[in-house]
């Protein structure tokens, strides 16, 4: 409705504007016509005041006769009239075609066109300039009074073609829907020159009566082409022309001014479709409201979206921070878990270590207590009176063996401590693996013999092999394994063997192993092997003694030598403990004989008989009041296979013996118990030679700890064989 109302208003405004434009146009034209005729009137008025006329009047007042003098003045006036006619033109046509000077009586003094119809001088011409229309003669006449010294002295009248008004100032051309005509006050049409009136008299009378300056509908009643068409919707506008009794009447078709869309048509349309308009208005209003709501909703949505986006950004940053914190927490948790696991493992290890140490202490205590009981018991026996020499020696030997056992135990503990502390240094000297195998076998020959075990030695490697390493520790490792083999084997054999399993760039991997036909190790106990202070049977009622440090020392030393340890065992079917080390291969041309002496090299399998054995205190419970000492003497085993020269006596390698003899001499001089073990080693080296029998008595002196006697005897033998020569 608003739109329709606006459209209606617009149409009305356009209509008003068109009306105003048309009225303004008509006013302009009427004004132009008025100005045109006013110019005529003013021109005549000015002409009446020209000095030529005034001169005439002056001279006339002086009494000059028209014949002599005034004629000249009148001629000047006439000439002025003619010049005015020539000057006042429009589009080349004079606006005056006749100018007349009348005297005060109305007699003609000058008439430049006397052949034209006379110009009457109606009343009122003396009062001032006038302009009147003479439709009969198609002329417009302007008059102006001539005054001389304020006295009416004549009249100037100028006539022009009336058609000029229509010809030049209005659209006099006949058109179908637009006409402009000049009408007199009495309703007579003033057609242009050469044209006839197009409106009938009755119609022009009605047009002349129209209200001025107002566009009103009229009945056309137009003659001529288009008249029928113009009868529908014809408007007329009458505009009076100022200063002249004429009106400019514009007749035009309504369509021409308002176009095809008129307010009337609009009203008809609006009347025909009011419901549609109302519905459209309501619909438009709803759509507008909905649009407004949607715009508000969109604005709110946008606002929320922007707010959410802002929040999301904050949340995203918060999430990122939290994720970073969580990651850090997870990392910390992982670290804590790892630390916890480490701590737990450490704790377990600590607990295990603590338990092992507890067991170790129990074991060590037991292992210490046993020899100590032996020492103390034997020492108590020695206080008894009336002891025989043999009993006394026996008691002392027991004390000596117990002390040796304690010393060995302490040495093992010390070695393990050094290894774990990293303070154990390995030597780097040349050694013969076969020699070490043989020495180890000799060391346990006696104990094996006592248990009826067969001892075998084997080296599977290059002949005259020599390697750089620590032979003392290697021997210790083999001894520990052999000791266990003897300990846990009741029948069968003990095999001590070595193999060069790999050689590469002057370095070789050597594997040493001790096999037995003993009790073996249960599967569930195998993981306990090589752990310090652990034994397969750690109970207080165990069958086999020992500190449990031997295998641990073996493993530690093997690792220090770039190797490893292992066991192949089956419960009740024996075991094979082995270890591997890496050793530099001796260069060719170098004497591979070890400085501390080595067993004589043999091809293939070598049997070595133990030169003797040290009586070892049996595992016994030495109660305070019941002390039992069991001793044994090692002899050469029957099972020892040896290959000798053709004489049956193995030749003595002096170089292998002399250093050891000197070492033993020093030990004996210092009354060192190590002299017992080293002397056994000497016996092993000389076993099978002619010297072996000579050393037997001295061996007994050493075993009885009669170190001074043993020293004297040893020096005597050494001197006899020239071992002191060097």
């Amino acid at each position: 409705m608003v739109l329709l109302w606006n459209a209606f208003r617009t149409q009305e405004q356009l209509k008003s504007a068109a009306d105003a434009r048309l009225i303004a146009s008509s006013l302009r034209k009427a004004t132009a016509v008025g100005d045109f005729v006013a110019e005529r009137r003013n021109g005549v008025a000015e002409l009446a005041e020209r000095h030529e006329i005034e001169t005439y009047l002056i001279n006339k007042a002086l009494g000059m006769s028209p014949r002599y003098g005034l004629n000249a003045n009148l001629d000047a006036v006439e000439e002025r009239f003619r010049r005015l006619v020539a000057q006042k033109t429009v589009r080349g046509e004079p606006i005056y075609n006749r100018i007349v000077l009348f005297d005060e009586n109305g007699d003609t003094l000058i008439d430049i066109a006397p052949d034209q119809p006379a110009i009457p001088l109606p009343k009122g011409t003396r009062d001032g300039a006038t302009l009147r229309v003479d439709p009969e003669n198609r002329r417009i006449v302007a008059t102006a009074p001539v005054l001389y010294r304020g006295i009416f002295s004549g009249t100037v009248a100028a006539a022009g073609e009336l058609e000029q008004l229509s010809r030049y100032l209005i659209s006099s051309e006949s058109q179908d829907q637009y006409r402009e005509v000049l009408l007199t006050v009495d309703g007579r049409e003033l057609p242009a020159l050469g044209r006839k009136a197009i409106l009938d008299a009755g119609y022009t009378h009605s047009l002349a009566a129209l209200p001025q300056n107002k566009l009103v509908p009229v009945d056309p009643m137009v003659d001529g082409p288009g008249g029928d068409t113009a009868r529908r919707g014809t408007l007329a506008l009458r505009t009076p022309i100022s200063g002249v009794p004429l009106s400019l009447v514009t007749i035009l078709a309504e369509d021409q001014i308002y176009g095809q869309i008129t307010s009337r048509l609009f009203l008809f349309s609006a009347a025909a479709f009011p419901l549609v308009v109302l519905f459209a208005a309501i619909l438009f209003d709803r759509m507008r409201r909905r649009t407004i709501k949607l715009q508000v909703a969109f604005a709110e949505s946008d606002r929320r979206r922007f707010e959410l986006q802002g929040r999301n950004v904050v949340l995203s940053e918060e999430i990122e921070r939290r994720e970073a914190v969580e990651r850090e927490l997870r990392d910390k948790s992982a670290e804590l878990e790892a630390m916890t696991a480490d701590l737990r493992a450490s704790m377990l290890r600590a607990e295990e270590a603590s338990l092992a140490k507890t067991r170790f202490l129990a074991t060590v205590s037991h292992e210490i207590r046993t020899p100590m009981n032996g020492v103390l018991g034997m020492a108590q026996r020695l206080l008894a009176p009336e002891l025989t020499q043999h009993e006394r020696q026996g008691y002392v030997r027991t004390i000596l063996n117990s002390g040796q056992t304690l010393l060995t135990l302490l040495n093992d503990i010390l070695d393990l401590s050094k290894v774990e502390a990293g303070k154990l240094d390995l030597t780097h000297s040349l050694f013969d693996p076969l020699q070490i195998l043989e020495e180890t076998a000799a060391l346990f020959a006696e104990s094996a013999h006592q248990k009826g075990l067969r001892v075998e030695v084997a080296w599977r490697g290059p002949e005259c092999a020599g390697y750089w390493g620590d032979p003392i520790r290697l021997r210790q490792m083999l001894s520990n394994l052999a000791s266990n083999a003897v300990k846990f084997t009741d029948a069968g054999y003990i095999r001590i063997e070595g193999t060069e399993v790999e050689r590469n760039s002057g370095q070789a991997a050597l594997e040493f192993g001790v096999s037995d036909s003993g009790v073996g190790v249960p599967q569930d106990k195998q993981s306990m092997l090589f752990q310090p202070f652990t034994q397969v049977d750690g109970s207080s009622t165990r069958r086999f003694g020992g500190t449990g440090l031997g295998l641990s020392i073996v493993r530690s030393l093997a690792q220090m030598m770039g190797g490893e340890v292992g066991v192949e065992t089956k419960d009740g079917e024996g075991s094979r403990f082995w270890f591997r080390i890496r050793a530099d291969v001796m260069a060719e041309g170098v004497d591979a004989r070890p400085r501390e002496g080595a067993a004589e090299r043999r091809n293939g399998f070598t049997a070595q008989a133990a030169a003797g054995s040290l009586a070892k205190a049996e595992d016994s419970r030495a109660d305070a009041g019941d002390v039992t000492v069991a001793t044994s003497r090692g002899t050469e085993t029957e099972n020892t296979r040896e290959k000798t020269s053709g004489t049956g006596v193995r030749p003595l390698q002096i170089d292998h013996v002399v250093p050891l003899v000197k070492e033993i001499e020093l030990l004996l001089e210092g009354r060192k118990f190590r002299a017992v073990g080293r002397f056994q080693a000497l016996q092993a080296r000389v076993a099978g030679t002619g010297v072996s029998a000579e050393l037997e008595p001295i061996a007994r002196l050493v075993a009885d700890f009669r170190f001074e006697d043993a020293l004297s005897g040893l020096r005597r033998i050494a001197s006899a064989h020239g071992w002191n020569a060097g």
Binding site: H51, T55, L62, G63, S65, G69, N71, D75, A76, E79
Partner: protein
């Protein structure tokens, strides 16, 4: 007296013969041969304005173009104009006109509102009339004398006018168209006051207004202008003379030149050029001489 009369006639005849001998050569052929025509003009009314134009100036200029020669204006005055044309002084003794002396000829044609007078016709050749004229009696506006009413009888009007003049003082200019001898005013007891300050006829009205005399003579061409110029200051009492004609004057020895001029006049009166000249310089003259200006051609 008779002897003297005879001697004078003989002398005049001899002078005429002598003048003719001296001036006959300035005819049309000579002028064309010279390529220039010399126009003798006098500052008078609107005939020769002194500003290089005027009715007669344009008239002769047109004539020069007509015969195909250059135009040159030579100023002179009413006292010397004939001498400059003929090379002789004009001496009037009664009805006799004598040409005396020897002077250089300065011009070939006189055209300057030159009135056709009988005595002049004795020494020069006139063309067809170029302009009408008449001598009027003019008084100051405040003069107590009333102009005549005028009638259809010019002679009666002249008598009436002269009656008003009586013996009162009258400004005249001898040897011009305002010479009182031309109109029988000498010897009548009129107080003639010859204006001798200059030979310019335009100064007659100012002299009248200066009260040099009670009346003055004024020819119509001048009067037409002065009645506009001095409107309310002067008034025309009545005619003194019959209607006169003005014309161009040539030496008697220049008939071909005069004939050529007459031919020229016929042509410009026929084609309207003459009327345009009249309207230009004397817009009020037609009504005064309707008969003259109604003629087309001479």
């Amino acid at each position: 007296m008779k002897i003297l009369t005879v001697i004078s006639k003989v002398g005049v005849a001899a002078l005429v013969i002598c003048m003719a001998t001296l001036t006959w050569a300035a005819d049309l052929k000579e002028i064309k041969a010279r390529g220039e025509i010399r126009h003798l003009g006098i500052k008078y009314a609107n005939f020769v304005t002194g500003a290089g134009d005027g009715f007669d100036v344009e008239l002769v200029q047109g004539f020069a173009r007509h015969i195909g020669v250059k135009y040159r204006l030579v100023y002179t005055d009413f006292y010397n104009v004939i001498r400059d044309l003929l090379g002789k002084d004009v001496v009037r003794r009664g009805d006799e006109v004598l040409l005396e002396g020897q002077h250089p000829v300065k011009g070939d044609i006189i055209a300057t509102g030159f009135t056709v007078l009988p005595w002049r016709e004795k020494v020069v050749l006139y063309s067809v009339p170029t302009f009408p004229s008449q001598v009027l009696l003019v008084a100051r506006a405040e003069s107590a004398y009333t102009p005549i009413k005028g009638s259809a009888n010019l002679s009666k009007d002249i008598v009436e006018t002269k009656a008003i003049l009586g013996t009162k003082s009258l400004l005249v200019m001898e040897r011009t168209c305002l010479d009182p001898a031309n109109y029988g005013l000498k010897g009548k007891g009129i107080d003639l006051k010859a204006y001798s300050k200059s030979s310019n006829l335009n100064e007659m009205v100012p002299a009248l207004l200066n009260k040099d005399a009670e009346f003055t003579l004024l020819d119509v061409p001048d009067a037409v202008l002065d009645l506009q110029k001095w409107a309310g200051k002067i008034k025309v009492i009545g005619p003194i003379s019959e209607q006169q004609e003005l014309a161009a004057a040539f030496p008697k020895s220049s008939p071909e030149l005069r004939d050529a001029f007459n031919e020229y006049m016929r042509r410009i009166r026929a084609d309207g050029s003459y009327d345009r000249l009249v309207n230009k310089y004397y817009p009020g003259i037609r009504r005064y001489f309707p008969d003259f200006f109604g003629r087309k051609g001479a």
